[in-house]
């Protein structure tokens, strides 16, 4: 059960604790400049169903006649082909109709159903503002809940800053890999807050609420639990990334990317930074945890 000690025990906990915030600070410029998807910056999306098989290159050629840069995904549904085109440029129906009928032989009947949806940049801006607002409120609510639960300043700050650094590092990593943030990503970031807080609350409770146990032993035990928690989620999310790399499904992939990046970050913020903060905190308190724990809603 001393897994944590064996791996990280030789390094000074203060150095370990400084690594995640440093990484977070370094990634702030990247995180701030994360590329945004068309729902935030505007662009065009169009779903097309053709009643026959079409080759990828033919479709790409037909789309290229209208816009220079587009993301195209094609699925062959046995005799039918679904085509999804996304671009940040203006893609007009007139141009699509022209190109698809001359290049791919689309009939008028098929073309009737081709309706490009144009996301106006102002609309995206509004959505982004809404997203940011919602995010702020969510973080404030989270802060309130954590403070109410622990009623001690430093551990609460540790839990909250871990969540915030997770978000920053996740955004920074996505930005580094050039993955665009979409609305689903905002949802995923809040999911990440949930998962991040899960492990941090667990760690904090284990270390602070068991006064009769040495700090290091609590950390060792908490570490095994925490790794299992994060591990299950990471496994699930990695599986989504693998599945969606074969079967295009943008929203799911986005959620999975955000969570994988965020959960990897969470391993560091929780087990380097927060362990360090808590160790320093309990040390200052003379190794004795505050005994405020009186929580027993579930009594037989």
């Amino acid at each position: 059960m001393d897994f944590y000690d064996r791996v990280f025990g030789k390094t000074d906990y203060r150095i370990l604790a400084l690594l995640p915030p440093l990484l977070g600070l370094l990634l702030i410029p990247l995180a701030m400049n994360i590329p945004l998807g068309i729902d935030f910056v505007g662009g065009t999306e169009v779903q097309i169903v053709a009643e026959r098989a079409l080759s990828e290159s033919a479709v790409s050629g037909a789309v290229a006649a209208c816009v220079s840069d587009a993301h195209i995904s094609i699925q062959d549904l046995g005799g039918k082909t679904t085509i999804l085109v996304k671009t940040k440029e203006d893609l007009t129906k007139a141009c699509l109709d022209e190109s698809f009928s001359s290049n791919l032989g689309f009939t008028d009947e098929e073309l009737k159903k081709v309706i490009p949806s144009t996301f106006k940049p102002e609309l995206g801006r509004t959505l982004l503002d809404q997203g940011i607002n919602v995010f702020m409120i969510a973080v404030i609510l989270m802060v309130i809940v954590v403070f109410l639960a622990f009623r001690t300043v430093i551990p609460s700050i540790a839990v909250i800053s871990a969540a915030l650094f997770d978000i920053i590092i996740a955004l920074g990593l996505l930005s580094l890999f050039g993955i665009e943030l979409t609305l689903a990503g905002v949802a995923a970031l809040l999911m990440l807050v949930g998962y991040s807080v899960d492990t941090d609350i667990m760690l904090t409770t284990r270390t602070l609420k068991q006064a009769n146990k040495p700090f290091d032993q609590s950390v060792n035990e908490a570490f095994v639990t925490g790794i299992t928690m994060t591990g299950t989620t990471l496994a699930a999310m990695t599986s989504i990334i693998v599945v969606t790399s074969f079967l295009e499904m943008e929203a799911m992939a986005q959620i999975a990317y955000v969570l994988v990046a965020g959960l990897v970050a969470d391993l560091f913020t929780t087990w380097f930074m927060n362990v360090g903060i808590l160790k320093w905190y309990t040390g200052r308190k003379g190794g004795l945890a505050p005994s405020r724990f009186k929580f027993s809603l579930f009594r037989d």
Partner: protein, 562 residues
Amino acid sequence: MDIKRNWRIWVLALAVMLSLALVLTQGLSFGIDFSGGTELKMELEKGGDDNVGLTTRILKERLNGLGLKSVQVLPEVDKKHITIKVSTTDPAELEQVRNILYQQAFFEQFVDGDLCAKGDEIQLDVSRTGGSAVVTGRSWQVFVRTTGDGPARCGKAMKGKVGHMTDIFLDRPREAAILLEDSLCSELAGMDFTNNADDVGYTDLEFLETRANIPVLCFTESEAEEEEEEEEPRELNESLMEELGIVVESNETGGNETEENETVELPQNDQVIEELRALAGQNITKVILSVNITALPADIRDAVEELNLTVEVVPKDPDQPFHSREDPDSWIDAVTGLKSTLEIQEGLTYGTPIYSSVFTGSSESPEEAQKTVDSYQIWLSSGNLPIKIEIVLEKPNLPEFGARFLNMSMIVALVAIILVGIVIAIRYREPKISMFILCITLSEVIIILGFASLVSWELDLAAVAGIIAAVGTGVDHQVVITDETLRGERKRSDDKRLWDVKGAINRAFFIIFTAAATTVGAMLPLMSIIDLKGFAFTTIVGVLIGIMVTRPAYARIVELIT
């Protein structure tokens, strides 16, 4: 099993069974992401509570009339946009939706068939202190002002008509005639029309022709098909000739001909055709039928086509009367756009211009009264929505894509659960624990779906992501419970010291409750973003089901197996 001690497990089992039953009997409703449909975003010229509220109500009312499977009209938090989700991607139907969104409904108030006020001549009296609409108990009042030609026309129309009725129409067909078969006409003529307790003196037929100002033509059903077919070429020639001639001319000759012909036993339908011709020569561009055009006698059908009249079919349910006061969707209401009938009070009947008046009445209950007042506000504002709107986004989700999304979601869920199972199995090396964790996880999914089915929540992609999030936290919390309890167990055997399993579980629940509260806190604000509402909803429901049903049951199971 001891029910008293293990009630939490029984609650879980019951919840799972109930949910399964719900899902199997009620089914799940899928949002347009999965089942196909179109999302439209409207932008209001000017935002604000009043504008967005009234516009939402008006659009909802208009779209519901379309008869689509599902229509959602959702105001956004910025109070400047409205998202509309309709369950169609058919280009023709979408065109209809667009028309309806941009359409300006037309308000008309009639007195015994005489126009009183129309369109924006009549408005809610918004300047009135105390509001333009007042509900006191079961009675309601709506204050209106009349402008333009309205006041004088209303004064004239109501002169000397104390106790008469005034009818309110929305989008009354102004250029249409009704074509019905004889038997239905006699039914119309035999029924007294009553749309108000004191409404007397008109039959349904008279109401249509006089008060709603819509001509009604009655045709006989073709008895002898062959005969008519024989007649057809002749009639076609005749009508072609008539078409070549001037309409007024054919009117005159037509009138004479029918009188002559009636005695010479030509079917009554010739007369109907003549009348139709005459009406088309005036301003009629549309005929309203109760049956499909193919069910019309051939000669009338030809005439309708030849005169280039558009056809609107309003099917009549043979078991329902043409009009009933209780049924706001009765045939006459649907055809004429009749919304309400009120009695004219003394004071309005001296023939002097009426600049302001009040619609008043009483309903069955205060709630009904409020509904009536809301409706009046909609009708009176329909001429012009409170604000100009523009479609800023139209995003069709084709069913072909939706079906694939649904399949893929299931594949993703399955693979994810299997992988989670593997991680749990590696960690605990105890098949019983892995099995229970997976079982509990599955029950959680089932209960969330059961709840969604219960409240008819439309599942969209976001909702599926929410289920994944909830399940993820669920597994995390079960790991916490397991570890807390197992550590207790180990301690007990190692130290021979009494270890408090309950204490361990209490600590586990402190972690779980705090984490759950944080997640709910983080999700609540998301409810305000329409595209993420489903995500927030399923996550919150999942977390709450977790802490109330599945987690306690799992804790008990762990206590039992250790």
